[in-house]
Symmetry: C2
Subunit: 459 residues, 2 copies
């Protein structure tokens, strides 16, 4: 965790953004796997971590916006606990690390909050995402209250601009991802299983931190966007899509994707598609800067993709019109990126309308932009992923052809020749700076076809 | 999963053990980490897996004990899901793999169960261990019903005897653990972090299966029994306790502990304690066979430990009396082992009084045996861990000395000289066979001090 002054400052800033009332933040508990005592690796709630820095289960906190006073709720360990777990910090000591002076036993939380409600004070809460969180709120309020939009806006307005100490943590996670992805490249040869590569990457992430920031995608079926199985065995000539990130013990994340030729050589046809995706990725870095709407960067990347595919004969007609009609959705049915920080999809639990959009930029249902999670204007300090891709999804191609969607822009007979090609995505992490942006991580993970081919071990 | 006939047979046997009614088994859902869409690796409920073999979220099933008919509840994927996830098996196809003929949408589960209740039929349920499970039962029944003891006894009586195909899966997990533990030994040198070793082991477990079967313990503070942090850096002369197991993709587990000298050489003092623990482990293998109560094996191991410690001057008086008084609890405040199978603490969620004990052998509060999770008579096909240990827990030594506990058997001035020593545990997995038992795994993980020293790389 950072020094206590960081958390004191953050809570002060939060209070300054709210009109009044009390903020209730619930930390996470343990998540049982297959029986109560066998839990997944503990992960603290990111907003709790942001304002209190304490990475232990079963804590909660209140910030009184009017007095600025924070209270930490938690239970001290018993002598028996200490026999089993060794000396443990007291709740008082934990509170001190977070710059908090008041502590209470965890069981008094409900009564305390009910006291505020009884006095007619507004209690701001966030929407839970675990069943335990729903249960706790129900216990306190008798029902799950609506999340406070005022609190969400305040939290987003702080968490979406990363400080230098946060950037350092994200870059640590990026450097872990560098090792993960170059290891995947080195392992990318015939006969190796997808599972082995996923396992090796997870091992690296755990050696250097909390683990992977999400369930890695390691698949020769890159066109299957939500593909979380590792049952394939690598075959020469195919492409392996690896989408994986690391999480530092501080909770800060990275997220990168590379697409690797099994055996170490891209075919001519693979290289043609690959270079279009790479051009879209690079173009996003060329044009992203404070004040630019990310939905416009998405559309610019879409233009690069349709332009390139037109060169290969898959797309026809004026590219600007094709982009406006959303023809790129057939090849890239997802947005260009998302914010990244303490969550790999940063603040996703707070609601996309506040995180990826705002009052000025609202999500549209147009095919051209409907897949964008992040559309708002970029601001200095934001961290976003840049992850264009081209996929050939048989079911989507069949659906569009049957419906006649974008038939004036898509040359289906040619597109259908690519069924079985798979998919390519190239993803980097970008920090918005006053003068534009920079790629996060000490070094960019090998990305040109030459660079990637030189890393894959030939057998 | 095994062939459908395995699950058909199991359900038939289960029905035969129940007097009537309907069995409701809930599969697990996804467990969110830090927002809804970012989930931990999915883990199916073990009892659901045992009777249906289906390793996917959001399933549930009913077995009508009287008709023998099973129904699978689940939802088919939509066309949109398939665009994102690729072709998916239908619920009908899943049911077929499990030998089930009837399927229903998931949303009809509550109504179906309520229909049974309305007809006055007994609905047998198990106790949930995740908040989601509590929520689901509450939704169906209006409250969380007591678990059916009849169902628990029936399930335990089946799951506690492992079939040949189950043993093969457990041995696969044991072989993964062999690689994990020998890797840890090779890495066990000054300057390496505990986290690096934990990460490397997790990587191996993931390369060969689902991952580790529980959060590995990798600690130079072996006396801290519940120690799940990896913040230490290895120092020459200290002991590293590594308690880690693997889980195959089938869900079957392994669980082993080794204690390794950092730098590769045990000191004379370490070797003395180590060899006592090893003798206790070996002794348990010598005497375990069908019909023997595991609590008696625990006491026999305790005798070996106290005998050895008397030889070193830490214990005094007649050893049999010391065992009866529970003096060994000071050095080994845990039981000799637990059942192991689809859960690393097999069936722990079903209740220790049914899994580790029975009507004949009940848990006692005596110091000598109170720490035993597993006390029942062994039966052919059972798998148990054998994990004696000797620890020097400063807080426990201080407590006993202050209270005068077992002061006629413990020579505290000598014991206190071992504060800082840490702890040693040596754990293997044992199958009970008609003629006695055998150690599981193709090879025993190096365990004598000579064997361990020869694996640790000297630098």
């Amino acid at each position: 965790m950072f020094s206590s002054s960081t958390y004191i400052e953050r809570r002060k800033a939060l209070s300054g953004k709210l009109s009044g009332g009390v903020v209730l933040l619930l930390g996470n508990g343990e998540s049982p796997i297959n029986y109560h005592a066998n839990a997944y690796r503990f992960r603290q709630d990111s907003t709790f971590l942001y304002y209190f820095g304490l990475d232990l289960p079963d804590l909660a906190a209140i910030v009184d916006v009017d007095s600025g006073q924070a209270t930490l709720f938690g239970d001290d360990f018993t002598v028996d606990d200490i026999i089993w777990m060794g000396p443990q910090p007291s709740v008082k000591e934990l509170a001190e690390k977070a710059g908090v002076h008041l502590t209470c036993p965890r069981r008094s939380l409900a009564e305390t909050v009910q006291g505020y409600v009884g006095k007619g004070r507004k209690v701001h809460t966030l929407r839970p995402y675990r069943a335990e969180g729903y249960g706790e709120l129900r216990e306190i309020f008798g029902t799950v209250p609506d999340a406070s939009v005022e609190l969400i806006r305040a939290v987003v307005s702080m968490r979406d601009k990363k400080s230098a100490e946060e950037i350092a943590q994200i870059e640590y996670a990026c450097d872990t991802a560098y090792k993960m992805h170059t290891t995947a490249m080195q392992m990318c040869r015939e006969g190796v299983s997808e599972r082995e590569i996923a396992g090796a990457m997870e091992g690296i992430a755990l050696r250097r931190g909390w683990g992977t920031s999400f369930h890695s995608i390691v698949s020769q079926r890159g066109e299957v966007l939500h593909n979380h199985n590792y049952d394939g065995t690598l075959e020469n000539g195919r492409l392996l899509l690896v989408d994986a990130g690391a999480e530092a013990t501080s909770g800060y994340t990275s997220d990168n994707t590379r697409t690797i030729p099994v055996g170490g050589r891209f075919s001519g046809r693979q290289k043609e598609i690959y270079d279009i995706v790479l051009a879209a990725n690079n173009h996003a870095f060329e044009i992203s800067r404070p004040g630019v709407r990310y939905v416009d960067v998405h559309l610019a990347a879409a233009r690069v993709i349709l332009d390139g595919l037109q060169g290969l004969g898959l797309v026809k007609g004026p590219v600007d019109e094709a982009v406006a009609a959303g023809a790129h959705y057939l090849f890239m049915p997802h947005g260009l990126g998302h914010q990244m920080g303490l969550d790999v999809h940063d603040m996703e639990n707070l609601g996309e309308q506040y995180v990826g959009y705002d009052d000025e930029t609202r999500r549209s249902d147009d095919l051209a932009t409907r897949a964008c999670r992040m559309g708002r204007r970029l601001e200095t300090g934001m961290v976003v992923t840049v992850e264009p891709g081209i996929y050939f999804v048989p079911e989507l191609i069949a659906k569009w052809r049957a419906e006649g969607t974008c038939s004036e822009f898509v040359y289906f007979p040619k597109v259908e020749k690519y069924i079985g090609f798979g998919g390519i995505r190239l993803e980097d992490d970008m920090l918005i700076t006053p003068s534009g942006n920079r790629l996060l991580g000490e070094r960019r993970i090998p990305i040109t076809t030459d660079e990637v081919e030189s890393v894959v071990i030939k057998v």
